[in-house]
Symmetry: C2
Subunit: 554 residues, 2 copies
């Protein structure tokens, strides 16, 4: 019996990972990777930074060349070839050589689908105009980069305010291009809660990126030379020498569907936790396949590079068949992104998701220093925690700020994956030294505030509910000192510094709801305690203070 034939369709993260892992597990395998691209194993997530010239050369994005796979792993990588048909009965794949047009046959014992995802092109007038681009492959990114190098672009419109769209917008802006982001959903970063996403929108506005959320593109307008000249939203005509379409991606499932492989409820390929499809011997990994949400156990489709690597690895081990099978552990929809100096991250359920799923939800929004206040470079970050009141389990978190957010989000990822309660989160013996953290980490501070809230020690008002409350008669009382208030305040607030609260208590109306605000929440909490002792009943705190306030201040 000869070496087993392993065929892999797709040569970016998941496909090459599966190939390399299988080769290491069982060097006796005969492994072939087919890709319609001319590059393999490239860093897709790096493309926005390549456009922004943070990454200078194309070659920096290429992890391994086809010949490296041959030399290091004995894997044959064939580029510029497109698989056109899977014949599961014959265990055969037909593929078309994109250079010669010739059709070739590839027999397999085991097949891995790593066909990825493709940009969604909205069905609008004008999408075929010149200078309307997507940035999914190295070639596409290089095309945009070349346009920029030729200094032909002054105004750009990015269609889609998801992570990639925003990263592209930042990188275009960093290169001096006036950039507008148009997002159909009510706010950018649709998976995030509005209170977090709106803060990011405010930040981007300060960085002179125009964000039009809740806005549909109607058409793309010719500049008279066959290239795009403007983007029409119906209401506005946005000048644009360059349009980047980043309105999401769709899983490449046609090959799979065509041969009888079942899709899941999300429209991506259904797989079990060993990455197997419904057809024996055919695996699906990376962006073309579904995942399972670790909290809800529901099928989800989060096309992420990190998941692609993990699922590729699992498939590689399992199909090699040399040892114990391994399983994929499920995902939390974790994401992190950097926009200028602002870092933003999310994991687990959003507040919106958690409520929709019927959890008895509690949330807090807690700003705190990412390292000792006296240590140079200390920055405030804001943590939103989402907890199930009944089980006290942590369901999700969203964190933003100019400090390190990747550390606390990964602490939450680990905690949520292992079923932690907020009490367990509070007690973690996290690493402390002044260059790295505060003595009580941002994680512990957020968990402690949540425990106080669950114990009924205070009630909070979310920033999104503030206006309605104030319209209904609530007083917003800012308890910071005059100097701080003078610099920046929330419209409609009055200022009574904490230390003068007792003497000025008569300025407060006991019949009205009183909402207290300070910089991060501690002084507002002390003020709340003071007012309660003085017999005030309708007192609450603005969650996140002025630090996390997502609307305009004065």
């Amino acid at each position: 019996m000869g070496a087993k034939k392993i065929l892999i369709i797709g040569g970016v993260a998941a496909g090459t990972k599966a190939a390399a892992k299988a080769a290491r597990e069982n060097p006796g395998l005969d492994i072939v990777v087919l890709t319609r691209d001319s590059h393999v194993s490239y860093a897709g997530c790096g493309l926005p930074y390549y456009i922004g010239d943070v990454i200078k050369a194309e070659r920096e994005l290429l992890v391994r060349r086809p010949k490296d796979f041959k030399a290091d792993f004995g894997i044959e990588v064939i580029t510029d070839i497109e698989a056109t048909k899977i014949l599961p009965e014959e265990k055969m794949v037909l593929a078309k050589d994109l250079n010669t047009g010739e059709t070739r046959q590839f027999a397999y014992d085991k097949l891995v689908l790593a066909t990825g995802a493709s940009p969604f092109i909205p069905p609008l007038e004008g999408t075929t105009l010149g200078n309307i681009k997507t940035v999914r492959t190295v070639q596409e990114a290089t095309a945009v980069k070349n346009l920029l190098s030729e200094r032909k672009v002054q105004d750009a419109v990015v269609v889609g305010g998801g992570m990639i769209g925003l990263e592209v917008a930042e990188n275009l802006s960093q290169r001096g291009i006036k950039t507008t982001v148009v997002e159909l959903a009510p706010h950018i970063l649709p998976p995030y809660d509005a209170d977090i996403a709106l803060y990011v929108q405010k930040y981007l506005a300060e960085k002179e990126i125009t964000v039009l959320a809740g806005t549909a593109v109607k058409s793309f307008v010719d500049n008279g030379q066959g290239d795009v000249g403007a983007v029409s939203t119906g209401a506005d005509l946005l000048k644009a020498d360059l349009v980047v379409l980043s309105a999401g991606v769709r899983p490449n499932v046609e090959l799979a569907v065509d041969c009888g492989i079942l899709l899941g409820p999300t429209g991506a390929i259904a797989v079990n936790n060993k990455t197997e499809t419904n057809i024996n011997g055919i695996y699906a990994v990376g962006d073309c396949a579904e995942n399972v949400n670790l909290i809800t156990s529901q099928a989800v489709w989060y096309p992420m590079g990190s998941t692609a690597n993990k699922t590729g690895r699992v498939a590689g081990i399992n199909l090699a068949g040399t040892g114990a099978e391994v399983t994929v552990k499920g995902v939390l929809g974790t994401s992190v992104l950097k926009l200028f100096e602002l870092n933003i991250a999310k994991t687990g359920l959003s507040e919106r998701d958690a409520r929709a799923l019927g959890y008895n939800v509690e949330t807090v929004i807690v700003p705190a220093s990412d390292r000792a206040h006296y240590y140079p470079g200390s920055r405030t970050i804001v943590t939103k925690l989402i907890v199930d009141r009944d089980s006290r389990r942590v369901l999700g978190g969203q964190i933003f700020g100019e400090g390190a957010v990747d550390k606390p989000i990964d602490i939450l990822v680990t905690a949520i994956s292992l079923g932690a309660t907020v009490d367990q989160l509070s007690g973690l013996d996290l690493a402390y030294a002044p260059p790295f953290s505060t003595a009580l980490s941002t994680t512990a501070v957020a968990a402690n505030v949540m425990m106080n809230k669950l114990a009924g020690k205070f009630t909070g008002v979310g920033p999104l509910d503030l206006k309605e409350k104030m319209d209904a008669g609530a007083m917003l009382v800012d308890v910071r000192i005059d100097k701080e208030y003078f610099v920046r305040k929330i419209p409609g607030s009055i200022n009574i510094p904490l230390r003068r609260l007792q003497e000025r208590v008569d300025e407060l109306d006991r019949e009205r709801e009183i909402i207290l605000v300070c910089k991060v929440g501690l002084r507002a909490y002390l003020a709340l305690l003071k007012l309660k002792r003085l017999g005030f009943e309708k007192v609450s705190i603005l969650e996140g203070g002025i630090t996390a306030y997502p609307f305009e201040t004065e």
Copy 2:
């Protein structure tokens, strides 16, 4: 019935935290804090950086002044007063005013001991000479800083190579002072494993800090003017205008012992998980009290600022008695420190601890990039994982490198606290974007290598065992390319690049043990697979590659 009297002895982290928390929980309490110091609530962990002028002014270290406690919390803080006797029957504390010499009485309903710890002064000749300092308080640190500002110090000796000693040594060195660290234990950072600590020693030597480990100080030598002039180790006489004693601290327990409070096996005050001592109504928090190790459930004494904050908070809530009692969750002995550009962190059991406790220990040492290799600022960090083979539970980790180590150590803290196996660690959906991580995080890479090792896919040789193996006849084969080998190699190794291994296989002796080494381990693993296919039996990999090699290279 009047307000309950709460008395707190000690005014740094734990004492002030307990006071502030109790005041917030129950504003009706009458809270008094006594401290023999003239500062309260100062950032003890910042003192090395204050000496190094990273932190310029004393006031930056002071979190709150006594009058702030009065204004914000209604807490009375009395400085320069030393508690001399606790009378538990009378619920009374006697204290001596350090300015007037007068003795005062303080009645209490509940008492919190936050007496901290004091530097251990080794019983040696000459410790009373001038310019022999400890740096536990702001005054002590200011004294050292003044000496430096007067430019009177050229050579310094730091006695003790623990975290504080090394942080002080770094800061002295940064100020241009020739610095020597003398450590009695076989290596600096005694809680760390030797393979990690020896790497740090090598790094410090490159930074021109002399480290004398396994070395006892015999005496301090007068410079003829009553100040220290040199430090004698018996073998050497080390020139020193300044000596910093950092040979550990001892818990301040005299007051407690004197009134019948029991100590635990570590010599610190025994407490339950509510921070209560054996005497009803008396709590002990912070550096004077014991903790419980979360893995072993044994009493331990890790005097850390982070633990001080947590225990202070728990005592504050519990003694206020206004709600449900809370508990301390136990510690892992987590630590992190920065020395020049190198970051070093540890949590859980060391390999040495784990073996001593009888675990069936497996370890790996795995270098990997902290963020996408193509993203500017990407650095390699080295993770040592310690796992129990039987349960597959993660027992501990040590991480070092010029990249971010605080994030992965906190992931391990969270995972270990929640009882994670290495398989769970491998599957975590950690946050990925090029500025923050690689698609497979350093944590996942280390976990995957561990899973491979547990599955018997390779055997490793630790760097500490290499010499013995080579003396016994093992060949060390470096499979990097010639260019890399030429720059830096391990003495006694030979070079056969991975891609030439097949053609040069006759250079290898099948009878001898072959140890393979590369930069991080991947190529050595591929070489191992290749040699095994070629029938070699005694093949293993140098753990951590040349990246983590803790001895001199050529």
